[in-house]
Amino acid sequence: MSQLAPVLHGVTPALPTAARSRGLGRAARDVLVLTRRNLIHIAREPLQLSDVLIQPVLFTLLFIYVLGGGISVHGASYKDFAVAGLIAVNLTTSSMGTAVGLTSDLKTGAIDRFRTLPVWRAAVLVSRSLSDILSALLCMTMVLLTGLVIGWRPHTTVAQFVAGLTIPLLFSYALIWATACLGLVSDEPESAQGIGLVILFPLAIVSNSMVPTSGMPAVVRAIADWNPVSAVTAATRNLMGNPNPSAAANAWPMQHPVVAAVLWSLAILALFAPLAVSLYRRRTTD
């Protein structure tokens, strides 16, 4: 029907090429712009904000003042024992925000809108991981500040202290890609949240994070000693110079917590980051 009409190849793009940044710079800019957008979302959503601002304070106070009195940590102070575990627990559960954020962006059509724009395809996922690791950093800071206020102290060098913060953040970054996968296969933010809780809560708690594993039944103890959250917690405790009863456990990760925590994180990342990319591609190809 259109054979006679002149075919056009030269429609000028909306913006002249000179006005755009190209290639890598362009991709980085897309990521930056979307990361900023995600952060505004976190700041404006009371629920998400409470996950990173209020929950860490609440968990810290609850565990230390309510449950801590009944938990023996082999003569050490529960406060000193608990803070590293609280960092791991809070970062683990708050990684759910990634799933919820992605599912709602898919559901509201926000991602479709970005896809009608000349945006780097992976920018949606990468920016989500960046905004969520920033909010994880904030979450961790809240635990540390609460700990400092109530008398917890690290006993270590600056370098080891920084390493002690980097390990939980690396683990958190890996978990973000895992929950991204959950978000990409969920239809509703609520169902992503429900499923996320069922997986992440046991992951956080069946570990040495809040109680020493020595008192657990043999099977549970074996699971806990191999739980990546335990490796992260033990590594943080060692690096912060805080009591680490897990050092007495025979399981390999408890004997080499720093190496185990890094390996766990890299393994999770290597599995879920490519999976998230492929799920995203599938979800947005119709």
Binding site: A5, V7, A14, P118
Partner: protein, 343 residues
């Protein structure tokens, strides 16, 4: 004919068992407005999704602004503006933040993006709400902001998917004015709508789409001529054998009688006193009249004119058996297409 902004041939789209598009050809010359008219679930949004690179056609091809929508999606995206059916704005962001976000993603640097946002807020009379979160916006404000967002990068081609569905009459007319101003320039526009009057008011050409196919294609004038101008709709208390002959001299063309025989519809020439004449004629044969309406043709009437059947799902009427339907699966398609749309 000038340059073609949109060119599509044999576009089909299948979602599992559902044939959302069953083969569509389109040509839209630069600087013109194409109205895609059809009921809910006809395939309008699917067509827009393909043309805006969001969905891949199952078969067929389309070139938008000179580039293939599948192979050169990136090039297409640099040349189009899209307003989706349910305004996909960011509720948590303010109006200004929404525009800056889209502007920066479209490739503007920070400074120019901010300036463009200010300019568009002004132009769409949203400056007063610029710093408010969009979740507090009214339906009309959301649509205007959404439209502004799609114009951020001065696209030569614009897609508006049902820009006034769900708006109150005042906001609707205002939206029309905005769209008219827009296309007074050189912007090419593809607009989908469920309303004949909207397509009539805004489009240079109209394609009527149903069940994934184009069932009519022409200028608004041609279309209205085919539909037959003013429509008469009579509802009787009970079916009456004398009603049809009584109307014979007053109407133009065929009279459509509902299955229960109570509702009669036909084209009339809008003269003064036409309703009075209809009631007198029916009264003379003893038919009791519950309701008489004389109104401009609706989408329903367009469908009746081209397919001899009602629009399933439009106006809350039960779907009538469809005389002109080539295969017997029409209502199934419509229903599954509805589901598709709801997803």
């Amino acid at each position: 004919m000038g340059q073609l902004m949109i060119e599509a041939e044999g576009l089909t789209k299948r979602y599992g068992e559902t044939q959302a598009l069953a083969g569509i050809d389109l040509t839209v010359p630069a600087g013109t407005v194409l109205g895609v008219l059809g009921p809910n679930g006809a395939g309008k949004s699917t067509a827009v999704r393909i043309l805006t690179t969001l969905a891949r056609p199952t078969s067929g091809w389309a070139k938008v602004a000179g580039h293939d929508v599948v192979a050169q999606a990136g090039e297409v995206r640099r040349r189009i503006g899209v307003t989706a059916q349910d305004a996909t704005l960011d509720d948590a962001l303010t109006g200004r933040q929404n525009l800056r976000l889209i502007a920066e993603l479209a490739g503007l640097r920070r400074g120019p993006a901010a300036a463009r946002a200010t300019e568009l807020l002004e132009r769409f009379e949203l400056t007063f709400a610029a710093e408010r979160q969009v979740r507090g916006y009214s339906g009309g404000m959301r649509r205007r902001l959404d439209l502004a967002a799609s114009l951020v990068a001065h696209p030569p081609l614009l897609f508006l998917d049902e820009p006034t569905t769900g708006l109150d009459p005042t906001s609707r007319v205002r939206m029309w004015e905005v769209i008219r101003e827009l296309v007074a320039g050189s912007t090419t526009l593809l607009l989908t709508t469920q309303y004949l009057d909207e397509a009539d008011a805004l489009a240079d050409r109209i394609v009527v789409i149903d069940n994934g196919r184009i069932i009519a294609n022409g200028t608004p004038t041609e279309l209205k001529a085919a539909v037959g101008g003013t429509r008469l709709e009579v509802t009787l208390s009970a079916a009456h054998s004398g009603a049809l002959p009584a109307l014979g001299s007053l109407v133009a063309g065929r009279v459509n009688v509902s299955q229960d025989g109570r509702r009669l519809r036909a084209a009339v020439s809008a003269g003064s006193g036409v309703a009075t004449a209809v009631i007198r004629a029916l009264d003379a044969v003893g038919a009791l009249v519950d309701d008489v309406a004389v109104h401009p043709p609706s989408l329903d009437d367009v469908f009746f004119a081209f397919t001899g059947a009602d629009v399933a799902g439009a106006g809350g009427r039960p779907p009538a058996p469809r005389a002109a339907e080539p295969s017997g699966s029409h209502s199934d398609h419509l229903r599954s297409d509805h589901l598709q749309g709801a997803l």
